[in-house]
Amino acid sequence: MRARSAALLGMVQSSVTLDLRYLRTRPTRAALAVVGVFAATTLIAAFLCIQGSLSNSVTRFETAASAGADLQVMGLTDTGVPETALPMIASLKGVSATAPLLLHPVVVNHHSVDLIGIDSAIESFVNVGNAQQNTGIPLESVSPENLLAGPGIAETLGIHRGSKVLVYGGTAHRLVRVAGVFTHGLGATFDNGYYFLTGLSFAQTLTGMPQAVDSILVKTLPHVSSRQVASQIRKTLGGRIAVSSPSELVRLGLAGIQQLLSSVPVVSVAVVLIASFLVFNTMSMLARDRRSELATLRALGARRRQVVIGFVVQALLLGAIGSAIGTVIGVLVGDVLVHTLPPFFLTYLPAAVSFSVPVSAPLTAVAAGIAAALAAAVQPAVSVSRVAPVEAMKSEEGVSDDEECLLYRPRLAALSLTAIALGSVIFWLSPKTMTVPGIAMMIVGWVLLTYAFAPILVGFACAIARGWPRTGELPSAGLARSPRHVWGTTSAIAASVALVVCLAEVVGQGTSLIDQSVQSLRGASAWVTSAPANALPNHVLLPTKLGMALRQRSEVARVIAGQFCYVRLGSREILLQGVEARSAAPILAEASSRAQEAVIDGRGVTISSQLANSDHLRAGDPLDLQTPVGVKHLVVSAVVVSLLWPEGTVGISLSSLQSWYGRYGASWYEIDLRPGFSPSTLIRGVNQLVRSASYPAYVYTGAQYFRGATSSSEGFVRLVMGVELVALVVGALAILNTLMLLILGRRRELGVFRAVGMSRAQLSRTIKIEGISMGIVGAVTGVPFGLIFQMFASHAESVIQEFPILFRVRAMPIVVTVVIALAVAVLGAWWPARQAARLNVIEAIGYE
């Protein structure tokens, strides 16, 4: 038994040696084989690294901020939890330690940064005894009214020990001394060093939160259930607080970018599919190219198994090489992309983002690449296994090739339609949870369906080639000789075109929706805001005295204040918008006048369509809002399209928000111009007013604010266009890949053409026509598939993202996509045509 196993292993090793030797002597073909896998794994690795960087940054931040606590008790808004809650929590059964924590955004030298306030109770959670070692600062030199800085913010602001900074915490500004900068340990790494640390009491003074903290850290006794303790805390303190575990806080922190995170698997599946077609083409060509050699090996006594295993190992190796290179490049690309993420995107996260490579990212990318290579090698390996030893007795030209045996396969068609139907049903019924399985089944079904009807695709391509004037049958015959490659190439192009058709419409509608939803912003003459227009609302409030100063200006007819406030609603964080009458804020302006009245009167609220979908609410339904002063029973006055915050937005009257949540001030002021004054005068005057302020204030005209608010959609469109471009480039690669392989495999034939009198230009044209014909078939067949996927994507967006995306067929985007795909086909055929035209005739004829 052992001898037999050793013999079998030796036989397999010999076969592998032969296959690897073949690759070494055919570097161009090997390179073409890895191109597809390389492209796919680059994309996947980049996506996963971005996803991982974002997740890890938030996780690290929330974990560090939790300081090892089992629970955090937080306020419903950034007004925090009263300090009086501390002894109440500490006295509960099961609680071993508590500590107050203030983690609040402030503005320092016009930069938004977190301020952390702690007291000695934190030592139950974190060992602060090494503070001196970590900062190099003698403890005695740190007074209660100094700040310690993280290295990140110190570098950004150019500050050091002894510097003075202007701190604005929402009510007043103050000049404070920096006692030191953390150099190592947790102090240096927390939130990438973008924070200031001080004593709790001073932090409360700076942030205008007397006798309140942002959270109370709670450590439970060993063997005591955190859930039980959380329940006790809720019972004791009532609905004024929210109790969360560290993992829940991580989930909340990632809520804003959940859409991106959930799209990664879907994009990865599509990318792996396209790569598989490229690998399939190359492996098929390798099988065909080596058919005579494999027949010889079989004739000399190689077993079928030996030959197949060697071929599969070859595919595995090519997949591994492509994956390894692609993963490395993908990680580098991910690093660049993380550092160039648009600002609006970063504001969705509570933490500064640093690039990291999760262990799963390269492993997943490599595994996906190898899996794609192996899957693509299955059919060529089956072809290889059928090589009959008797073929060795024939000349190379006489070697039979089962390429011609591309038949209609009705059973496969039935199976594929079943897969498509099943995938469609599970996706349609449960798009939130079954996105990836549903799409994967539909894609696999589609691939099998195109294979089942491959003769139609190939016939179509041959007919198109034949239709070109002056070239006769040559390009058509060239395509007919390699039906599997034609199928693989046209399918790869069809997949690229389908992806573009689907994305273009869905994303186009999405961005239009975003633009429409904020149209009302143009209605105001000017805006003064505490956050940039292209960023999410922050916690910083503009002082009421600014509003008073604005009202006193002669060119100002009216000033309307408004406020953003993030509020915990159950396990989510929603965005409250406090508005005044006649506000141009979309959450109010898009509602009917009757609904607006109800909101301003404090009787009702408007809610975003996302919240309406997730909580199954309609106009007229009750909505209970937990506030620090008790539960408020409200009625939904209207549902509006507001895409500002993914978890949902609620519009209430500003006075209600301020009184219920104790937040006084404004996130924005809308200004209407008095007739007879020019907008530029207004902007100039407002700029002068805010220039000298210590708080951040951004001034925009209505049009500018609208453009800034829609920049998020522009950024997203650019991202999607990048994906579409990659898809089309991969389509071009498919054509280039196939044609190069066909040229390499037909060198003698092409040499004979040239020998009998075909000119270089004619040969080049022949190759181009082959490529363009495949491009046309791919583009035309990709459109209906793209429309079908668009239908599903529209449904998914409507359900998952609560975007009301409609399924629409518009001619112009489809025509543009097809034209671009054809241009891509021409591009993909250019290089192979050039290479064919430059063949050395004598070498080609003597080529073996």
Binding site: L9, G10, S14, Y22, M393, S395
Partner: protein, 241 residues
């Protein structure tokens, strides 16, 4: 379909114990375009050990088909081939591969060398396929190359060699596994007359002591054989010596 006469079958039964190759009622037919083509029709003969047999016949006579069946590259429709006491028709695909590797040496008309391997590696191929590490086969391979006059070309690849040299490497490869039978399908078909004569001499010299069965349409080669089996329309029409 013409079958062997009872006398012929009895003759084979009597002689098979001493013969290396015994062919009884061998028939091979193929479906082709709705018509059944009978490439071989009930061929019967025996071949002794250490003999040189030429198979002759015009194009389409079935000589290649006969060689395929003798080499276990194909399966007969009827009849059987027994080589060294082993009935080839009872072998499954793996056993057939093993048999070819250990009992048959092939010399193909179109050389059929592996382009990515050096000359000595091509020679070592049958033993390599048997599971022996390539490095252990070099000495033997170079000995064989020396026998065919190519000791100075062992490191060259097929692309760097002439047709005559390629066929010499192929001859050396055929002998690597020390097979009792060497089958050659038009081994000089792709060479000029001078090179062809050289190859034949090398083949016969190197294969001395073995049974060589050679398919050819060259009368000059056939004249050098101990026996000539002439095929026409799939039937054995004459046996000469």
């Amino acid at each position: 379909m013409s079958r062997s006469t009872p006398e012929q079958t009895e003759f084979v039964a009597e002689r098979s114990t001493s013969a290396l190759i015994a062919v009884t009622d061998l028939t091979r037919s193929y479906p082709r375009g709705g018509v059944t083509v009978e490439a071989l029709r009930g061929v019967t003969f025996v071949i002794d050990r250490s003999s040189f047999v030429a198979i002759m016949g015009p194009s389409g006579s079935g000589k290649s088909t006969l060689l395929h069946l003798l080499g276990c590259l194909d399966r007969p429709t009827a009849g059987n081939v027994v080589i060294n006491g082993i009935d080839l028709s009872r072998l499954n695909d793996d056993d057939a591969s093993d048999f070819r590797r250990r009992h048959i040496g092939f010399v193909f008309q179109f050389f059929n060398l592996v382009p990515s391997l050096k000359a000595w590696e091509n020679v070592a191929l049958p033993a390599m396929l048997d599971g022996t590490a390539l490095s252990k086969l070099r000495l033997r391979a170079e000995e064989l190359l020396s026998q065919v006059g190519l000791s100075d070309r062992s490191l060259h690849r097929p692309g760097e060699m002439s047709g005559g040299e390629l066929q010499r490497v192929a001859v050396a490869r055929a002998l690597m596994a020390d097979p009792p039978v060497v089958l050659a399908d038009e081994p000089t078909g792709n060479l000029d007359s001078v090179r062809g004569a050289e190859i034949l001499e090398i083949l016969l010299t190197a294969s001395s002591g073995r049974t060589v069965v050679l398919a050819t349409h060259d009368h000059g080669i056939a004249e050098q054989a101990h026996r000539v089996l002439e095929l026409r329309d799939g039937r054995l029409v004459t046996e000469g010596s």
